[in-house]
Amino acid sequence: MDPYLIEAIINGILLGGVLALLALGLNLIFGVIDVVWIAYADIVMCGMYVIYFLYVEYGIPLPLTCLMAIASIAALGVVVHLLIIAPVLNSAPINQLLATGGLLFFLQSFATLLFGTDFRNIGVRLPVLEIATLYISFSRLIAFAVGLIGAVALYLFLKRTYIGTAIRAIAQDREIVGLMGVDQRRIYLVTSAIGGALAGLAACLLALQYDVHPHIGNTFGPVIFMICVLGGLGNMIGGFIASFIISQIIAIGGYYANTELSYVLAFTFFIVLMFVRPRGIFAR
């Protein structure tokens, strides 16, 4: 087989790791709070700016920068819930979409106002691994590994802790969890913080590979949203698997044609599947 094709497949798998992390965050929030954060990718963009400024402008060591970014975006998740989601929690879904969609434009415009439209790079150059005849980018490998570790950590948290169990339960019966002694509002805040932390973690991984600019959310926001719908909104395992399907289509399509066309291919696949399985591939 052509080594470039193998490289494309491997890169597809590596890209899937980061997309999976974001799909998990979005699905977790939707499953628990029943609101789609349209602006999720733009919250990741905020995280990338935090990393850029802490690391490049203030010279804080990279690992510490990443921890601070994760913590600050988790806090941003809580703020988003309190200021934007909580007031529209019982409103019609269209109003909730408009509110989080409004947040998307707010964040992009606010970032443009503060930082301009410059593309900024944190300037970390990680080596490229050479295995036999294949070249694998080390930063993608890290992104994939950390993405998987994040997913496993989230899984264990949801399975093994009381709050995790409450999060899984509240997604099934919002009212009855109260009879178990669970304070819904607290679970919503914890979920928003976890969703934010996952976005912060993704920001760390993406900052290693991409330049940050106010509209970077547009490049992967629609893809994450498509992945979640494809896997069945709120279905975390479905979203996880769908991340790798989509990333393969993008990677292999990029090999045979080019990146732009591979996105066309991915969205065509999505549209066709929506006719065949409108509730997602893994609909229960």
């Binding site: 009381y162 169990t165 899984r168 339960a169 969890v177 109260g178 009879l179 002694g181 669970v182």
Partner: protein, 234 residues
Amino acid sequence: MLSLTSVSAGYGSFQALFGVSLEVPQGEAVGVIGPNGAGKTTLMRVISGLIPLREGAVTLDGQPVGGLPAHRMVEQGIAHVPENRRLFARLSVEDNLRIGAYVPQARRRFTEQLAWVYGLFPRLKDRREQAAGTLSGGEQQMCAIGRALMSKPKLLLMDEPSAGLAPLVVAQVFELVQRIRAEGLTVLIVEQNVQQVLDVVDRAYLLEVGSIKLAGSSAEFKENSFIRRSYMGL
């Protein structure tokens, strides 16, 4: 132990309870019977805090608890087995029991409470890894009761535990209620199955269109000609 004084409650502009007063003494089982739509479920929901108290007072061991939200009521020692069981169907039996022990005082005693519930309902132990939605109706009721018991409540509220179950399973459910009583728990139970519930409770109330129409011991209820005629078909 539990005392309701002139409690009124409802949903929106609809009032379901009109000045209901009742007493559940420590260690006793009390039944509330009445026709469909009499407000029995509303009564349970207002006690456990799922719907707000509009007027009147609810006290538990002399402490006013009326109007607290549901999650605070559990901390006070009130556990509610809801109508139609309402298990978390996709969670395992053991996860359902675990969430029942969510409040801090119950978490500390999780292992012993779990052993106690499994001792009461050995079938749950056999099926602990299974998704709760795959259990039979009777097993689901065991799981719902077990989940409520995990919080180590002082008072157990049971809303129509026999609803939707086959006659043979209904008999098993009342046998479960007997076993819980034998553990010394105070129970308030709402039922349509009048004959069988009067066999397991000490005292009973008749609730009709949101008001208490009759109160007495279960023996008095069984002798009452109106109850016999209207609710027991005798």
